[in-house]
Symmetry: D2
Subunit: 364 residues, 4 copies
């Protein structure tokens, strides 16, 4: 068969793919049957990680070129959607590993030492590429995560810490959003008015809630005070930037504002794809957390409170990273600031036209 | 059509089932399209909750009769398995609710006030029936959970607090396990010896782990000190009962020991079904927590940091209940005490026979 | 509690929902435990059917008003997507019913007679609303499907046979597509040229395929002759309409052509949503068929070759409806006519502008 | 790092796994982004196929040794269960490939020629190992399936045609089942009596079914005549063997009878695992068919009626293999012969004891 006419097997390089499963337990009297599953499931994980990296890189490239536009944004959304679909599959896949019982795992666990999923370079690259900063990483056994990697792997992951991340390019793109303010319309001011009305109404509902004790009401009204304060933060650059510096918020005020505009006016044709894009980023974050949680449960089931093969205290470490390693939670938190369509400031006709298609624009 | 020959529609009482969707948003100029989804998804949840209760009650009944035996234990396992399958479906179902956007929800959210999923009587009954004690419940707005229920509903849920729970009957059944000690074999002593060997080996591995700093090693060896102490607790009744009283452990020492025996010797025919039973209880706990987490994420996506329709601060409340409302975590923690098959004390032949089938018993 | 402040239980009408499970097997000495599952799973199916009907009706309404436009088409797509998500859930749900064994089912099967899923009015309405014509329905025991329904139910389902279906409104909408032909551009002609090139190339590939025997080549080239003939049909109104009359094709030539245009130029902003719409219709058809197949397998597992409770020979009937009851298969068959992007006729700039947004139109 | 202390990357041989994706479309001006997905998804399929083969081989080995017993049968069931879980995952995975649109695929489809999934050696090995006979295979383009494989691959797949298959070993094992006939109990005779009663009852129900027309009744009663004849076949060795020879039935009369006994008395402890084993074989068959159907739908969506890259007419070929390549359908058809528990012949006490555990045997 000529090189330029590969067979199925050659095309997929199956000799290499299917020749890469060497059981460590072969040194025992009897190899452990389930080690094959352990190897293969991790290899499929790594293949999917490669695919996820392939997709994120292509998305970042679209944004970096400044070539993101109304035609290719749909491609970007499709690729983020695909990432999320892959994530859901990998969560589902954990169920198969559950068919290996803790005692089956114990049979070969010691032979793996010190190999550990904690050393997955690609998983760290995914986290870095999405936008997880070193300063936001949970330390493990008081060590930097790179401490557990070989020299070459350390270089690989750090490379992605120092280049534009998905978070970075999305933030810049949001900051470039036009439409938010012109002579006719000031989104910020119009929105401020509407939101105040709504919050006041919520407080009234709490006060009227007959199920709540006085203490309960107090607690929730205190909660609302925080929400009012949150709004103040949105409006007050000084306060906002203070939060940014403290790390409690990650996204810039300008980008935050644009994201909110997109969420609120998502029905306008031009904003539909940007809205889906933001939604998918939230989905990706959530799925990553669901994966971490399923993995934490698996670790607990497999080794209880014992340390993992890489020295990790498994369940606790993974569970703690759920919130701590989130990258796009500022976007899901924006739901706090949404208001019902009926309360939404009406857009001036000129702006509405701009957000529509050329084809059905009344001017034409 | 005669009463004793129902049609499909009569059998399923579809007139009632399909006639129970009244949109609150009908009072608005235009009913909100997505409210139908909101109602129907919750109704299907409640139907599944009814089914789960039906299954748990039947399982508890088997145990309570003292009629649990080697024939019907398979039925019990099957029903627990079914509960878990239903749980997985309900987690999956949350994805459909995600097709309703936060702003769609805002359109009718205020009309629901103060109705809230927090008031689901059946969900509380499930928690109670599994074995969640009042003292272990997370308070909500500093209130007992019954505070948010009507008088009748309060009576319904409290009834299940005061009767035998699944936890109770499983614990008693475990305590009745024979086999653990006779003139020939003392499981406790034999196991103690094996486990000490294994732990000593784990500590050696940590000391040899070149990836770990000295601080890291120290942290993990301290961790192992705790594990050694945990074993002490298993062996020392005084210490164990102290933990029981403190609420850190829920299951009795005797039941704990029996569960461990079952897990370790699960390959013996008689122990296979008991082993699956314990596994399914862990699964049910985990699935309930995954459900709580998906629900927490949904709450965050829908209303951000705002309070839920029932006055709950959504995400945080649900996330906190994940560990706190676990009922069977003592069983998943038992994995800490497992040892590889190769290190397992050998059972005396007589005991091995007892755990086998009559048919292929060598005596016959 | 006042009527306008419903509790969770009142809002969801749980008294009715949870009070509608009456086991037929209560007449036996001991009610059959699994009949509850049988009832509840069917009730959740019917609730989801109601939701699907709610979504289809709303979609048809958008189209019927002639008010389908670039803003609300995204809503339409979202609702079709939701229908498909619900379908996937209902397929998944069948797995739970599999936890009931055939012999458990036999315990109460006779008591159900003659009730049968075949009598589900809502399922027939869904088929009718999508666009399944009476003439395309597989007869069952040589009878019309309405023969198995009560008088009222017959009226309900026939009502939806005689009003605009999703198929009808989508077809009309496609027929109204502008852009396909103007002074500058004739899509039909341009496409014809490109496609001929591509097909000729495919035939060459077959001839060069060394794996194929001469007979094999002949068979496939004959297959290509049919494809060439298919193209002729697309172009030749007389031939096309003959096929339409024979029932082998369901969609009009004009609509077919427009659908193809949308599929080929889906990257243009204005065509993105229409493309997703067509894709979702294919998905809905496929999911319905997967559901039918899972159901057929279930029937076989439960009752083998015996007749179902409604008198249906289960497996065979359901399996035959898979292809026969498809409504949108003309759309999936359109893939036959796709060509690679690189071979696609280039659109004149003026048309390309029309398919873009007003905002980034170069004229502005 | 020493060879006996592999890192995560070395253990999983990630250099080979992640270095095996070479895009054919690199020869184009711009590599096609989605080809990476196409390669990786197929590589993960092949990895899972390897795992499935690993499981089937281990199961066959247990049976071949004649070492299948009451202890390890649970292991066998667990491994079949795992195979089925993997199958479900691979069906789910097809959804991800659907995120590649037909036109994306067309971009690089020609470059793959003549590589085709039809050439997957491992998939053929799975079919062979399960027990698919050459004579039952659907020919493709009038050719043997081995015609499309390289010489070496042909040898690989044919090796598994000529050794014991899962079907073979299960059949032998069933034929060895004791218990079916002794001085006290003749299962065959007792069952024959019970079943006649039940069938007569079914016929009565049809006759009384008011929904059915006379023609409908006639059709179904004719159907029952066939069922009666089926029973005759079960009882009459001459007739049975005739069917065997014709290929309409695959499993021997003796094995058929034993399988029925297991299904009917599955509640007896000793029969529980054998029952699950039969159920899992049915599941594996069904999942394989669901996979074929999903794959057929994908083929249709991707290339319509065009031939696949391997020369296959995709949809039709795959759809036809669904029934034709089933291996264990005789087991699912056995449901035809099930009868309700209440109608089941009562087992003599001595036999009942034999089917129980030694431990709780009344003799002891």
């Amino acid at each position: 068969m000529q090189d330029d006419k590969p067979s199925y097997k050659e095309y997929l390089q199956l000799n290499k793919i299917l020749g890469s499963q060497k059981l460590r337990s072969e040194v025992l009297d009897k190899p452990v049957h389930d080690e094959m599953l352990f190897i293969i499931i991790h290899q499929t994980y790594e293949l999917w990680f490669k695919q996820i990296i392939h997709e994120i890189l292509s998305v970042v490239e679209y944004f970096e070129d400044n070539s993101i536009n109304e035609t290719n944004i749909n491609t970007v959304v499709l690729r983020l959607e695909r990432i999320n679909d892959i994530q859901k599959l990998t969560i589902k896949k954990i169920e198969i590993l559950e068919s290996m019982t803790p005692m089956d795992f114990l049979e070969f666990r010691d032979l793996l030492n010190p190999a550990s999923g904690f050393q997955s370079v690609q998983f760290r690259i995914i986290e870095n590429l999405l936008g997880l900063k070193r300063t936001n990483r949970l330390k493990y056994s008081k060590q930097e995560y790179t401490k557990f990697l070989s020299k070459d792997d350390k270089i690989s992951v750090e490379k992605y810490e120092n280049q534009k991340t998905l978070f970075d390019v999305v933030e810049s793109w949001l900051e470039r959003t036009p439409f938010l303010k012109d002579s006719e319309f000031n989104f910020w001011e119009a929105y401020k008015k509407s939101v105040t009305l709504m919050l006041d109404n919520d407080v009234k509902l709490i006060n009227k809630n007959t199920y709540l004790s006085n203490d309960g009401k107090k607690e929730q009204i205190d909660n609302y005070k925080k929400i009012y304060e949150n709004y103040d933060l949105l409006f007050d650059s000084n306060k906002y930037n203070k939060l940014l510096k403290s790390g409690k918020i990650k996204i810039s005020q300008k980008a935050s504002l644009a994201a909110l505009f997109i969420m609120l006016y998502r029905d306008e044709p031009l904003l539909h794809a940007p809205y889906k894009l933001l939604t998918k980023l939230i989905d990706i974050d959530h799925s990553l957390n669901s994966w971490r949680y399923s993995h934490a449960l698996l670790a607990k089931r497999m080794i209880g409170n014992k340390i993992g093969t890489g020295g990790s205290s498994g369940y606790n470490y993974l569970k703690k990273t759920m919130d701590k390693h989130s990258v796009f939670n500022d976007f899901s938190n924006l739901s706090t600031y949404l208001i019902p369509k009926s309360a939404l400031p009406v857009l001036p006709e000129k702006l509405k036209n701009k957000l529509g298609y050329y084809f059905n624009n009344k001017d034409n």
